[in-house]
């Protein structure tokens, strides 16, 4: 493969239906990405609200020529969560499995192995390929050395690297938005909608550290993998995933489009990203197996 594709990952945050519809309409009309992941992956309590707009968003994106993939919830707990995974997985359309339950329900039909699945080596990836995995988005902490080893062992598997956005670091049974606002998860008032990029979590000495998003914990920093086209091709990367943040994502996508098309080099991509009002500092430490918050240009 000599072309590197781009995808827009699933949105992690509690955005209003109006905001979701507008956001994806702009993606459909203006964004040079081949693939878009949609659906609620973080909190089943948000589903009754945003379930209403996904069909319309799907249509809009598909009509614009995008490959649209439904992402399934990362930590299914309730019957509703489980049913949503079954319904999406049993359907013929391509889905992203973010919990092994989805893989099971897929019964051999093609699927994307999402970053919430624990795929750390070529043998695990191979077993899942035999079960239908066609694309693999590695867990964010997986070093490039391991990603390369998997790519080499399984040349038919498309590797989709989490290249931009706050890093999804953890999920929990507990809701940190509710806890921070002294509420209970069962009566959370959907207070996570106040933080469209996540709620800042800082250390006692005011260092920016993490971001909470309901039951999810993300990095405060923003992952930015900006290897140039040739480097990515050498390492066996087939697609870069850009994760939605509450900024001008079209601008982000255009920077990465220029990068993977070989029009700009890493330094220019970084400089252009730095020029955007990002929610945190750039980071790429995980790529080399270092702490994830580090930015190796420093």
């Amino acid at each position: 493969m000599s072309k590197i594709e781009l995808s827009l990952g699933p949105n992690f945050f509690n955005w209003s239906n109006e905001k979701l519809v507008d956001f994806y309409a702009r993606i459909a009309d203006e964004a040079p990405v081949e693939r878009v992941y949609i659906g609620e992956v973080i909190c089943g309590k948000r589903m009754p609200f945003n379930d209403k707009v996904w069909p319309e968003i799907y249509e809009r994106l598909a009509n614009a020529g995008k490959t649209v993939v439904f992402s399934t919830i990362a930590l299914p707990v309730t019957v509703r969560d489980r049913k949503s995974i079954s319904a999406l997985s049993e359907d013929g359309e391509l889905v992203e499995a973010n919990d092994i339950a989805g893989v099971h329900k897929r019964s051999g039909q093609p699927f994307v192995g999402g970053p919430f699945l624990n795929i750390y080596n070529e043998q695990t990836a191979k077993v899942l390929m035999n079960l239908g995995m066609e694309t693999f988005c590695p867990p964010v902490e997986l070093p490039m050395k391991s990603v390369e080893a998997i790519a080499q062992a399984l040349p038919d598997l498309t590797i989709e690297l989490f290249a931009f956005g706050r890093l999804p670091l953890a999920v929990s049974g507990r809701c940190y938005h509710a806890r921070a606002h002294k509420l209970h998860k069962d009566n959370c008032q959907f207070i996570c909608d106040r933080d469209p990029d996540g709620m800042d979590v800082t250390t006692l000495d005011d260092q920016k550290f993490l971001a909470a998003n309901g039951i999810q914990t993300l990095s405060h920093s923003v992952q930015a993998i900006t290897m140039n086209r040739d480097e990515l091709l050498t390492k066996g990367i087939g697609r870069l995933r850009l994760s939605p943040q509450d900024i001008d994502m079209i601008a982000v996508i255009e920077i990465y489009r220029d990068l993977v098309d070989g029009k700009i080099e890493s330094a220019e991509a970084e400089a252009r990203l730095q020029g955007l009002p990002l929610p945190g500092a750039l980071a790429n430490g995980y790529v080399t197996g270092k702490p994830g918050h580090l930015w190796q240009a420093d």
Partner: protein
């Protein structure tokens, strides 16, 4: 034999930790039904210096445990590193050769290898696999023949009751010791700060990345340079486990993720038994033999009391409270209010 507890024999199986041969002996003598341990390398999720078993020690440990009537479950429960999966395969072979009663694994690569090469070896699904629904558990049962699942510490007792009605594999739950707040096997917080994590290297918030720095009368506990907690004069300084630190959010300072508490679900043992749970697990492979001996004896007394129709759990709870971190405890996610 493992897994033979049923309506005629409804006792809870007590699964106890052993980080060293001495702890294994202590657990066996204290009446552990089962003892879990790991090999001395990165294949297990308690990969700390001075802990765990060589292959020779494992073989001897299995013999000793069997003499006392205890089963041995061996954790090969980290995720194999790409390009180095032979290390994990070798560990599976060693477990099979030792005569241990089961292997505890999370990685699909490890489960797949164990099933292919050692079809008679009993497979338990590690908590690190984070399988909490009938669908995900069935995947591991149908694909690899897993016979028991260790449940993530994010489920309430009510949810465990429902789950056990929908699945046919045994369930094992944590009842005492350290408490992960995040879903195990789904947490990269430690590697974000230090580059090392449970899934990558079998450690969380590793000591080598910890520093204690004084600033005036305050002491700051840091992990990978990030301040995880601060202590004023007279306050006891705790270990900076990332998810148990004090942070600022929404203008307030708090233990945002979890207080520095440990799990004690001793009071819930009867409810867990009624929920259809097969085995109760005590965390703490990093603990010394004296601790192991005391905790195992207390829980064994509780299980025996329950078998005899008694109700000893509150007494046991009191016996154990002095031994937990800072004496502070929680029943965790088992009670829904935790969320």
């Amino acid at each position: 034999m493992l897994g033979q507890r049923n309506d005629n024999n409804p006792s809870l199986e007590l699964v106890c930790p052993a980080g060293t041969p001495a702890a294994l002996k202590a657990a066996a003598e204290a009446g552990a039904h089962s003892i879990y341990c790991g090999l001395r390398n990165e294949t297990n999720a308690r990969n700390f210096p001075g802990l765990n078993f060589s292959e020779k020690e494992l073989n001897a440990g299995v013999r000793l445990a069997h003499k006392h009537g205890s089963h041995v479950l061996v954790a090969v429960n980290t995720f194999a590193r790409a390009g180095d999966t032979h290390i994990w395969k070798r560990a599976v072979d060693a477990v099979a050769a030792s005569g241990a009663d089961a292997i505890i694994a999370a990685d699909i690569a490890v489960l797949d290898y164990a099933k292919e090469k050692h079809p008679d070896l009993r497979l338990h699904l590690s908590v690190q696999a984070a399988a909490a629904t009938p669908e995900s558990i069935s995947f591991y049962q149908d694909t690899f023949g897993v016979q028991r699942v260790v449940l993530p510490r994010v489920m309430s007792v009510e949810e465990i009751v429902k789950l056990n009605k929908e699945i046919t594999v045994e369930t094992e739950v944590f009842v005492f010791g350290g408490l992960c707040v995040m879903t195990e096997g789904r947490c990269a917080l430690s590697s974000y700060a230090t580059g090392k994590s449970p899934n990558l290297t079998g450690v969380c918030s590793p000591p080598g990345d910890v520093s204690y720095d004084e600033d005036g009368s305050n002491l700051y506990a840091r992990l990978g340079g990030f301040t995880i907690d601060g202590f004023g004069e007279g306050e006891t300084a705790g270990y900076p486990t990332l998810c148990k630190g004090r942070f600022k959010a929404e203008g307030e300072t708090s233990y945002l993720f979890e207080d520095p508490v440990s799990l004690n679900a001793a009071s819930l043992l009867p409810r867990l038994q009624k929920a259809g749970v097969t085995a109760c697990k005590i965390e703490g492979r990093q603990r010394g033999k004296a601790y192991i001996s005391q905790v195992v004896k207390a829980f064994r007394a509780a299980v025996d009391a329950m078998d005899a129709g008694g109700n000893a759990e509150e007494e046991v709870s009191a016996m154990l409270s002095a031994m937990t971190e800072g004496g502070r405890e929680t029943t965790g996610a088992y009670k829904k209010i935790w969320r």
